[in-house]
Symmetry: C2
DNA sequence: CACTATATGTGTGTTAGCGCACCGACAACC
DNA sequence: GGTTGTCGGTGCGCTAACACACATATAGTG
């Protein structure tokens, strides 16, 4: 009898497109669940237990910088899966996944998905982790650029750059930073002026010097720490 | 003689962390290159020829909504690789990758990386493509939310939701949308009011109805089309 | 039916950042 | 040494969105 299947049809397209044999192998590992509106599937930082393949439900991926400052960075419907970090070899995500549209979904234990998509080779595994950190970076930057002040964002950006150049001095013009932060060049003049006034940096004609890193971290928003926290993991935990 | 190696040391940490045998296998496929400031490694939509593992160079990933409206959604230093889309099984990216800090990098032909990280199983391949589309979504939303007006963004959001619910009517409150778009609830009142005035949608107490999809697409910014274009690929091209 | 929580509409003052139009300073290059 | 291009600073009016404070309206519940 296929009654249960008729009652809860599998309409997730990601699953539907799989070759028959793979689809068959997955089915026993999938559990039909009803998702109710506003249900939280995973919290930022908490461990992800299941991945979800929506049928008619819709899931929002949110980046947040404060309790009341959230920003959607992704929508997941029947074309996708919530919990992609698990596939990328990471148990947690900085995003919150909440049910935006009630409906059904198929869920799978995180461990089962990891087993199914068993990674071959270190490079492969590593790039997965890295993809995850990039996604985190994009999400958090998105929220940061939406909510935070120019000078906080500039401080964050300088720190992220500082981490990568490995020197206290580097070349970068206001014009360039304005394109990075998505603000006017004059906006950077203002923000950089504040940082310079407070002896955190000094600069002249495209030459920036970090004078007080700790001070910069204090000015910068938490986004820096969040991104950094998620960014380095894959290079050590291997 | 290891002179050439001393001249151009491999300091990319992603490569450095690999087990010796894998590292050795990759080396012959890697080419030392000098990256100059402002060099463009790949343009939005164009095919990606190489991936880059920076040593002391730094690469910015930019999302753009217009010639002069760009936003950094990722930084790649010696901890990472530029061109992650290739790993995800996609030849192009909606982002522009430009050199933010001159220096050296190791580059690898896109085809070679694909071969090295040969994917096993359809699910695996599919999830890669999906990861890519999620990353695109996050990037483009980031830029959109930074630069575009609330009503344009609301139109985009409604279209994205409409695509997924598969019905012209669905439940969603202004409060909820305000959290998705990162604006105040009153801001949604205003934007939704415009859309309703123009007969594009109607709504009442959390019940939204799409009246004129084509009109909504006209109001919405290009971001919708861009995201949609990148989003559906993996479900058909398999 | 009254009560209450939820959902939406409106108004007022405030502000961060924008667009534009400059000006000055310095560097590099003939 | 003058010219030209890059880089940074400043002022001014403007506007989208904010914060806060209410006013309704409606659905659901006891």
């Amino acid at each position: 009898m296929l009654d249960t299947k008729r009652d809860m049809p599998v309409t997730n397209r990601l699953l539907a497109i799989l070759p028959k044999n793979e689809h068959q192998r997955l089915l026993p590992q999938l559990e039909h669940v009803a998702l109710t509106f506003a249900e939280v599937l995973h919290e930022p930082g908490a461990s992800i237990r299941h991945v979800y393949f929506p049928n008619d439900s819709i899931i929002s991926l949110l980046a947040e910088v404060a309790e009341s400052a959230t920003l959607e960075v992704g929508i997941v419907g029947n074309e996708g899966m919530a919990g992609i970090s698990v596939f990328m070899g990471v148990n947690t995500s900085r995003n919150r996944a909440i049910v935006q549209g009630a409906g059904t979904a198929l869920r799978m234990k995180a461990a089962a998905l990891r087993k199914e998509t068993n990674h071959v080779g270190s490079l492969h595994r590593l790039l997965h982790r890295y993809s995850h950190s990039l996604l985190t970076q994009a999400s958090q930057s998105a929220a940061c650029n939406r909510f935070h002040r120019v000078n906080e964002r500039l401080a964050r950006w300088l720190l992220m750059t500082h981490d990568r150049v490995g020197a206290d001095e580097f070349r970068v013009t206001q014009e360039f930073m304005s394109n990075m932060l998505g603000v006017r060049r004059e906006g950077v003049t203002g923000a950089a002026g504040i940082l310079q006034r407070d002896q955190l940096i000094s600069y002249s004609r495209g030459q920036v010097k970090i004078l007080n890193r700790v001070g910069l971290e204090a000015v910068s928003c938490d986004c820096y720490r969040i991104i950094k926290g998620e960014s380095d993991g894959y290079l050590t935990k291997n």
